[in-house]
């Protein structure tokens, strides 16, 4: 049985270890970015839900007015400076459909996050 390693084996093992160690910071950075993106995505969903909660309590005309002046809340703007929100309301049969789109900075997500809500006129709680 062999009692020692060849120099070539030692070199190969050292090379593999070096590559693994050199690659790990990249992986950690990638994980950090994923965490940030997921947190920002979560905040965007919360922002859309906050707006939708208010909008679905309004009448269609009030809602249309509110959508014209809809903006990202100041607290979220501090966290995600390049974000923006847009909304539109369209008649959908006997209901009204509200579409809210939240645009995140490009490094996090290119496509806007969308949330749909419906208004039913005359629906009483």
């Amino acid at each position: 049985m062999r009692k020692a390693l060849l120099k070539m084996e030692l070199l190969a093992a050292t090379f593999v270890l070096t590559v693994a160690i050199a690659g790990s910071p990249l992986l950690f950075r990638k994980i950090q970015n994923l965490r940030d993106t997921s947190r920002i995505y979560q905040l965007a969903i919360q922002e859309l839900s906050n707006h939708m909660e208010s909008l679905t309590r309004m009448s269609p005309s009030e809602c249309e007015e509110a959508l014209d002046s809809i903006v990202v809340s100041s607290e979220l703007k501090q966290q995600i400076p390049e974000s923006s929100i847009h909304g539109q309301i369209t008649q959908d049969g006997d209901a009204w459909r509200i579409l809210l789109s939240f645009q995140l900075p490009v490094q996090h997500r290119r496509e806007p996050i969308e949330l749909y809500g419906w208004l039913f006129e005359g629906d009483k709680r």
């Binding site: 050292t14 693994a20 979560q42 208010s54 679905t56 309590r57 419906w118 005359g122 629906d123 009483k124």
Partner: protein, 177 residues
Amino acid sequence: MKRRGSTLIEVAMALPAICMLLVLALQTIHHTFRSARFAKDRDHSIQVLSRLERQLREDFHEANLVQTIQPPNPQTNQFQLRLTDSSSIDYQWNNSSIVRTKRIKDEAIGIDKFPLFENSKVDFQNENVGTKQNLPFQRVAILIYRATPDAPENKRLELHVRARIPLQPRSFTGKQK
């Protein structure tokens, strides 16, 4: 004749290199374990925050019929949602948790605790916005910030729930899908 061993110089060169690689490898392993623990804690906290968010939205929704929302008491960090004359929901918080208590006739019938991230800061905002089409309403917001190494002064927003609460029931309401 073929050499059977290494010279002292070769060994002296190889040893520091191996030591350096070992130190780097150990650091990486330590970092991996720490990240795994952090990810596990964070995953748990995110679940708690999701539950808290749903509960807050539901309570704010029920408070649609309340007369008023009492302002928070700065000493106890508390606010109260009035549902009817006899029932209410209290939220109390500190840096590590939020406690929700449902009361009927001043008797606590349900207590729910939401543990937060370490070093969290809860910010409660409540303002009377005035009236819109003769309907007075209040705007309330709960924001939870967390201190992290890259944002040490509780600057990292983790949760924000805002709602507009009419002080009397509306005849027009919508549904959200």
